[in-house]
């Protein structure tokens, strides 16, 4: 049994941290915070890779990061650590700092954490919950974390049972909160290249004439493939629903083909990080694909609260 942890004590510790920084630092210290980023991770909260990622990410997205993770071992044990991350502002003698609170619990003590987290969010700023570990969506000790968020971000592409998890996420969300999915953000280059293709004067008229859509994927149907199909269906209501084609040597979303009056548009991943749009073996355009994790997260964070387009897509996918 470790020492109990209290939100008031953690915040006081954080306050002391800031006071010390201000007193001992050579330069002015600016406490930067535009949101609470609540991260639920499958590993320990002090994971150095995650800490490194958050440090880099917070350069552009200053936040009070609260990392909730699991501790090894048996018994009921909880831990709390606070730290500040500072960097010198470019060209200025001011340190810009953001803060991180790491909360850990053994499996048995996980249920002890949500009430503590509820007292730690930064006042009057958005709370974004990023589920690196989707276990918080399961009925159980961490379900309370999800309802704290103004936005919930998960990655359905990494989930086999993504439909069930999406349903559960929607049920757990607080009133007015938004759902975000990195699988959807990954589709942005795909959606953008298709949108651009139909802006071309020669193809504009064909938009209403699309007769058939095929979405090719490898392995079990990934969320991204289903989202793409649903999005196209919402844009082209006259067109029959997309056909999913499983390809033997592919992985995840592989390509999309649109057929319209003798024209076939084929969008596929040509390189690991590149998309190609072709028509009758003619390359129409090429665009970078597979955004990095920080790019995906940044895209989701640009829109706190519900995204009407994605909500309609999820609705279509789940029903």
């Amino acid at each position: 049994m470790g020492e109990p942890i209290h939100a008031d004590a953690i915040l006081a510790q954080l306050g002391e941290h800031w006071r010390m920084l201000a007193e001992t630092g050579q330069t002015e210290v600016l406490r930067a915070c535009a949101m609470t980023l609540l991260v639920h991770t499958e590993g320990p909260p002090s994971d150095p890779d995650l800490a490194g990622f958050l440090a880099a990410f917070e350069l552009a997205h200053p936040a009070r990061a609260i990392v909730v993770g699991r501790l090894e071992g048996a018994g009921r044990r909880v831990t709390a650590e606070v730290r500040a991350r500072c960097r010198l502002a470019p060209g200025r003698r001011t340190q810009i700092c953001s803060e991180q609170i790491e909360l850990g619990a053994t499996e048995e003590a996980l249920a002890d954490l949500p009430p503590v987290v509820a007292g730690l969010t930064a006042a009057d700023l958005p709370v974004v919950v990023w589920l690196r570990d989707p276990a918080a969506l399961d009925p159980g000790p961490l379900a309370g974390l999800v309802s704290l968020g103004d936005k919930l971000i998960l990655d359905s592409d990494a989930l086999r049972d993504w439909r069930a998890r999406l349903r559960r996420a929607r049920a757990l969300l607080a009133r007015g909160a938004g759902l975000g999915d990195l699988a959807w953000a990954r589709l942005t280059p795909w959606r953008s290249i298709l949108a651009e293709a139909f802006h071309h004067p020669a193809r504009k008229a064909l938009l209403g004439a699309v007769e058939r859509i095929e979405v090719h994927h490898g392995g079990p149907l990934p969320a991204g493939a289903a989202y793409l199909a649903a999005w196209l269906r919402l844009l082209l209501p006259a067109c029959p629903a997309a056909t999913f084609v499983e390809v033997a040597d592919g992985e995840g979303l592989c390509s999309a083909r649109l057929h319209a009056q003798g024209l076939e548009l084929a969008l596929h991943r040509s390189q690991p990080r590149e998309l190609e749009l072709a028509s009758a073996n003619e390359l129409l355009c090429r665009q970078p694909d597979a955004p990095l994790l920080e790019e995906l997260l940044a895209e989701e964070l640009a829109l706190i609260g519900p995204d009407p387009v994605f909500e309609a897509v999820v609705e279509a996918v789940l029903n």
Binding site: G15, D112, P115, D124, L125, R175, L303
Partner: protein
């Protein structure tokens, strides 16, 4: 006349402070530490003494030792200075005795005369009732019958809340006090009004030109006043179950804070002018009627939970609490002020025990921009209206939330805070509420004390709710310790299209 040539804002005359209940929690945790700090800041008059009384048979020296321990243990943000204590404690005296014993008051008179001679306190006496409220009538009557309520200097009396358990009792207590002391000598303490940040509300509103024009129904959508405590009963369960959240916090502290936020500007910063405006505002609060109480008031009681590695008992499992106690540990109200400035603006007040975090603040939410210029096509987050937060504790300060453009292409908006922090701006430790209020009472300044008409106006607001709740059977507990209260509290705001802010 000479005072006018001094830089001091006022002169605090010499006096003896008589604390009835000097071994109690309040004296040890608040009063003596406040006096010690005043001494450290050299703000006490040259002729000053404290005479403590309680039933404990002890002498001056033992009393001083006990108070030294209390002061050293309860000084927040300051170190204990043994040399200063040595000097300060010479003015501490003790007189044991039962407050129901008539002979105590004769001994008290004799001791006060002696102290007056040795400490040169000019015959001025400030009585402080820090006892159980049930003893107030006894003490006041005995002070009057023994003639201690008058004398060569001034006589004042400080009365701690609760000022009765309801409107009728408040009036009874007032009649009793008036038999011995005139209104100007009665100092009814509400320590919230002594807090620096509550006083700063007046400065913020009336010393700045840009806020007051917005301070009305035209620009303000609603106001939320929250006093959240993360602790449970801490051994006060038996007392608390007789009181409840509505009486303990809302009837006095939060209504006074609300009055400070919503009152009209006084003609001058003078005690009666400020108190008149507060009183006027309190009388303008619509008194809820029975049929609407269910829709404007929510009661809650916490149940057990496990928080942060610790088993936390429910209210009914707290020591000294009846296992079937119907007392509320959470209360939330939607109140309306019936005047030209505030018509239709809800004032939401909430307080509770065992909430996730301790804080007290006032949040003024402005109307959203009239035209959602950036709200189309999902390019902006749901419009978060401007929010002005006056933080009373902890991290005293003021913040203003507004929307700003996210750096980069496109017009994406994000709420940001512009923050003023007391500590960071002034560097000085603010005086505690009791420091301020004790000094005010010695100086005879009642600005931050409540007046009988204000007390009665506060009771008039909560009385119908207390009566309705007394008749109702609640399904308690209805919120788990470590949560923000019962779900009905969310409904209270949702009914009017609002939600509690995330503190």
């Amino acid at each position: 006349m000479l005072d006018e040539r001094l830089r001091l804002t006022r002169r605090v005359p010499p006096c003896t402070l008589v604390i009835f209940g000097a071994n109690g929690d309040l004296a040890r945790r608040k009063l003596l530490p406040a006096l010690y700090r005043l001494a450290a800041e050299r703000r006490l008059p040259a002729g000053f003494a404290v005479l403590g009384n309680s039933r404990t048979p002890t002498n001056d020296e033992q009393f001083r030792d006990r108070m030294q321990e209390a002061v050293a243990g309860h000084l927040e943000d300051a170190d204990f200075d043994a040399r200063l204590w040595e000097e300060f404690s010479r003015a501490l005296f003790y007189l044991p005795g039962d407050l129901r014993d008539a002979s105590l008051y004769q001994r008290l008179a004799a001791r006060l005369e002696e102290i007056d001679r040795t400490c040169r306190t000019a015959g001025n006496i400030l009585f402080y009732l820090s006892t159980a409220p049930s003893l107030y009538p006894e003490v006041v009557s005995r002070l009057a019958s023994s003639g201690l309520h008058t004398g060569p200097g001034w006589r004042r009396i400080v009365v701690e809340k609760p000022f009765g358990r309801d409107l009728a009792e408040a009036r009874k207590l007032s009649r009793l006090l008036y038999r011995a002391f005139p209104e100007e000598a009665i100092f009814r303490i509400d320590h919230y009004l002594g807090k620096e940040t509550v006083q700063n509300i007046l400065a913020f509103r009336f010393a700045n030109g840009i806020f007051e024009p917005l301070w009305n129904r035209r620009y303000i959508d609603h106001v939320q006043i929250t006093a959240a405590e993360s602790i449970g009963m801490e051994g006060r369960g038996a007392f608390y179950q007789e009181v409840g959240a509505l009486r303990d916090m809302i009837q006095n502290h939060l209504l006074q804070v609300m009055a400070t936020v919503a009152m009209e500007p006084p003609a001058a910063f003078e005690p009666e002018a400020v108190r008149d405006e507060r009183a006027k505002l309190l009388r303008s609060i619509r008194i809820p009627e029975e049929p609407e109480i269910a829709s404007i008031a929510v009661a809650g009681q916490y149940g057990p939970a496990r928080i942060g590695g610790e088993d936390v008992p429910g209210f009914r499992q707290e020591p000294g609490v009846d296992p079937n106690s119907p007392t509320e540990t959470y209360a939330a109200l939607a109140l309306f002020v019936e005047n030209w400035r505030w018509a239709g603006v809800p004032f939401y007040l909430r307080t509770g025990k065992r909430l996730p975090r301790r804080f007290t603040d006032i949040a003024i939410q402005f109307h959203a921009a009239p035209h959602a210029l950036f709200g189309e096509a999902g390019i902006a987050e749901p419009m978060r209206p401007n929010l002005l937060v006056l933080r009373i504790q902890p991290e005293e300060g003021i913040s203003l939330r507004f929307l700003a453009k996210l750096p980069g292409s496109g017009m994406k908006l994000r709420p940001v805070l512009m923050d003023f922090n007391y500590g960071a701006s002034f560097g000085l430790r603010a005086p505690t509420a009791y420091q301020t209020l004790l000094l005010d009472a010695m100086a005879g300044d009642p600005t931050l004390y409540t007046r009988q008409d204000m007390v009665e106006a506060c009771w008039a607001v909560v009385q119908p709710i207390l009566e309705a709740w007394a008749r109702r059977r609640f399904d308690f507990p209805n919120y788990a310790a470590g949560t923000w209260g019962p779900p009905e509290a969310e409904t209270l705001l949702a009914r009017r299209g609002h939600r509690w802010r995330s503190p």
